[in-house]
């Protein structure tokens, strides 16, 4: 019996050694659905980090490969099935994803926790995820919208607007952001005249715009998606003369909408996660060299999420989620040697030497609370189809 146990253990070890040559990281993003125009840059961001680690040749656990999978952003059942496939058939050691808050929560509860696989989301921002049961397996390099609500309030108040109309996409993300914003805005003495949900992908938004216009407000806050109802609402508001200025939070800031609407967005503004840290600049250089747009929303967060996963694996010396997930907070936060994008090879050297590192990355990562980014925001304005950064908050 003892012999057999030893043999089994040896076989298991050998099997472990064999698979260690190939470390798979699932990239679970909505390649179709409401975020389909920003997810390609996000995936490229994550794959950039993976390529960098592989090219450094210092990742002792093997070669990292990315397996892309489609979360659809909105369909929890489809996202769960996609994640299940990543875990059971592709045997990924970690998931970089998911993207939208609703599917991220579903994947966390239905796949990540039952299978004990760690996940780092670059873009799920619902405040509800801060308190979700996660067995220590879930992190996000995106800040909670509770923080964005406060930042957006400051952005609006600083421009002298006191009454706003509010519309949000009717899902976890939109509702979470709208609620946290309304609470923050009213606490600061502002007035939300009406809060109207809108469904995505619908044919017509006349009813929503009519109600928003009737309630009135100096600006319209559109907590939606750039590819979806959010754009429909803005277009219909502009056409009917209901509102001239819009506040666009993270899900709405995208080059496509800026190009499509052009000069008619000139009095609009917004904010999305971003920093003026040196890391952001370095990352944009790397992204441009790799042939994609590094300023695209959540692309830097995706790079950081993937990088953190691999750093944590290296620090733990293991690809098992229960091992590496315990290292994430240490690596992301001070103290330690600061690590910028493009320095992943150096970071791996330091980790191997036992030196503590502070992963700063492309978004000045600082994980707080239950493992979410503290949140730096880029305040932007629109100028004839260009997105212009005004300041950082």
């Amino acid at each position: 019996m003892k012999k057999m146990m030893t043999a089994t253990a040896m076989v298991a070890l050998m099997a472990g050694a064999a698979t260690a040559q190939d470390v798979k990281i699932g990239i679970l993003l909505g390649f179709t659905g409401p975020l389909e125009s920003i997810t390609p840059s996000m995936a490229l961001g994550a794959e950039l980090a993976i390529k960098e680690v592989n090219d450094s040749g210092k990742f002792a656990l093997g070669t990292v490969t990315a397996v892309r999978s489609d979360s659809t952003c909105v369909d929890a059942a489809a996202a769960t099935a996609a994640a299940e496939r990543l875990v059971t058939s592709d045997k990924v050691a970690a998931i970089m994803g998911a993207d939208c808050s609703g599917v991220t929560g579903a994947v966390l509860q239905n796949v990540a926790r039952p299978n004990g696989v760690g996940m780092i989301s670059p873009s799920a921002t619902s405040p509800a995820l801060s308190t979700a049961e996660d067995d220590g397996l879930f992190f996000r390099t995106a800040p909670s919208d509770a923080r964005q609500g406060v930042v957006m309030t400051n952005v609006i108040m600083d421009r002298g607007f006191k009454t706003v109309a509010l519309t949000y996409t009717n899902n976890d993300y939109g509702k979470g952001l709208a609620d946290s914003f309304q609470a923050a805005f009213e606490a600061a003495g502002g007035k939300v005249t009406i809060s109207v949900p809108h469904e995505d992908g619908k044919a017509d938004y006349s009813a929503e715009v009519a109600s928003l216009a009737s309630a009135g407000g100096e600006v319209l806050v559109v907590a939606g998606y750039t590819d979806q109802g959010g754009k429909g609402i803005i277009q219909a508001s502009l056409d009917s003369g209901a509102f001239d200025s819009f506040v666009l939070p993270d899900g709405m800031v995208g080059q496509q909408i800026a190009t499509d609407l052009g000069a008619s967005l000139n009095t609009s503004f917004g904010q999305y996660p971003g920093t003026d840290s040196k890391g952001a600049e370095v990352f944009q250089g790397l992204a441009t060299a790799a042939g994609f747009d590094g300023t695209s929303a959540f692309a830097p967060e995706s790079y950081d999420a993937a990088a953190l996963i691999m750093m944590a694996m290296a620090a733990a010396g293991s690809t098992a989620s229960r091992d590496w997930s315990t290292k994430v907070m240490d690596l992301a936060n001070a103290p330690g040697e600061p690590i910028l994008p493009g320095e992943l090879g150096k970071a791996l050297d330091l980790i191997a030497a036992g030196t503590d590192i502070d992963y700063v990355g492309a978004t000045a990562v600082e994980l707080i609370g239950a493992g979410e980014s503290a949140g730096n925001y880029r305040e932007v304005e629109f100028k004839d189809g260009e997105i212009v950064t005004v300041r950082f908050r």
Binding site: T32, G33, E36, S37, N170, I194, V196, P197, H198, E199, G201, K202, A203, D204, S206, A207, E208, V209, A210, S211, A213, S214, A215, G216, D227, K231, G232, Q235, A236, D239, S240, G241, A242, Q256, D260
Partner: protein
């Protein structure tokens, strides 16, 4: 003055958008109802036929724009439209030849044909995305507005603006022309009459020497034309995105059923019923009421019957009511 302001607000935010949307739904519902009346199944591929037809028109429009050909204040897409219709007529005829004819010869039950059309829908869905991608495409050019809200305010001195878009006017004019032509065709021409005969009683029509394949082919061509026109008008008025066109299927079917499946007049009425109910029942009347009532009675709240979240509930409640009390729809369509 206040009455005029109230009227303007109502026209601008309720009447004009709902009319344009209603016309778009009506054109879509006409295609669905025609297929249902003559080929006897609910064509789920209609939304994606619209998307594919619009795709063809968009590609052609880009070509024309690159060649510097335009219509001045009117969108270039109108030149490309006949070409798009021709291509789509070819596509649906080929689909019919390859897919539907087999089931028609076997005299398959309508439910089977519905599922077949679902398959066609997925294929067209994929082809559209393969050709033009999943992103939003804006292809409207020319003058965007006949009258902007600001111009109207300056012109009349009212507080409320009234905006009329070029595309809304084009939508209405086109819808009226197309519907007028369709009714003339169905009631006055030999082919139209044979189509109605085929719809009323297939066996009798066959006995009286009507060529079924010809009726089917003409029906498909008209349906393709209606789908392409509806799709292009919708895309010009809002924007083109394959996913939205797929979603359009729901209100289009609601419109066709409310009006009475198989009844062209019903499809038009149904389109407007759905569009107006979506906007009117959920409209916050605060602005209008504030203008109409003396200041002391001005409402604090929004004067909203129900939140806009319920707008689909409203159209489907109407659908259920109609089916309960008038099972064949407002205009005596077929009931299955």
């Amino acid at each position: 003055m206040d009455i005029l302001n109230a009227l303007t607000a109502f026209l601008n935010f309720v009447f004009i958008p709902a009319t344009a949307y209603g016309a778009q739904l009506a054109l879509g519902a006409l295609g669905v109802t025609l297929i249902y009346g003559i080929l006897r199944f609910s064509n789920f591929a209609h939304g994606d036929t619209m998307a594919l037809g619009t795709t063809v028109v968009i590609l052609m429009t880009w070509g024309l724009q690159a060649a510097g050909i335009g219509l001045g204040p009117l969108p270039t897409a109108l030149i490309a439209l006949p070409f798009g219709i021709a291509v789509m007529a070819g596509v649906v005829l080929a689909t019919d030849r390859m897919v539907y004819r087999f089931y028609r010869r076997k005299r398959a039950a309508p439910t089977i044909l519905v599922i077949v059309s679902l398959g066609v829908m997925f294929v067209m869905n994929g082809i559209t995305r393969f050709i033009i991608g999943v992103e939003d495409q804006v292809f409207a050019d020319g003058a965007r507005f006949v009258l902007t809200a600001r111009q109207f305010r300056d012109l009349t001195g009212l507080d409320e603006g009234l905006a009329i878009r070029t595309t809304q006017v084009i939508t209405l004019v086109t819808a009226v022309v197309v519907v007028g032509w369709l009714f003339w065709f169905l009631t006055r021409t030999r082919t139209g009459k044979s189509m109605r005969a085929f719809s009323d009683n297939e066996d009798l029509a066959l006995l009286s020497g009507i060529n079924p394949e010809r009726v089917v082919a003409v029906t498909w061509i008209i349906a393709a034309a209606l789908a392409t026109i509806a799709g292009v008008l919708y895309g010009l008025d809002k924007s083109f995105k394959p996913f939205t066109y797929f979603q359009l299927l729901l209100p289009i079917f609601a419109a066709a059923i409310v009006g009475g499946l198989g009844s062209p007049l019903g499809a038009i009425a149904g389109g407007f019923v759905i569009a107006f109910s979506e906007v009117m029942v959920t409209y916050a009347w605060k602005k209008v009421v504030t203008y109409l009532l003396p200041e002391s009675l001005a409402p604090e709240g929004l004067v909203q019957l129900m939140g806009t979240d319920y707008k689909f509930a409203v159209s489907f409640a109407i659908l259920i009511l109609v089916l309960l009390f008038l099972p064949t729809g407002l205009f005596k369509g077929k009931s299955v």
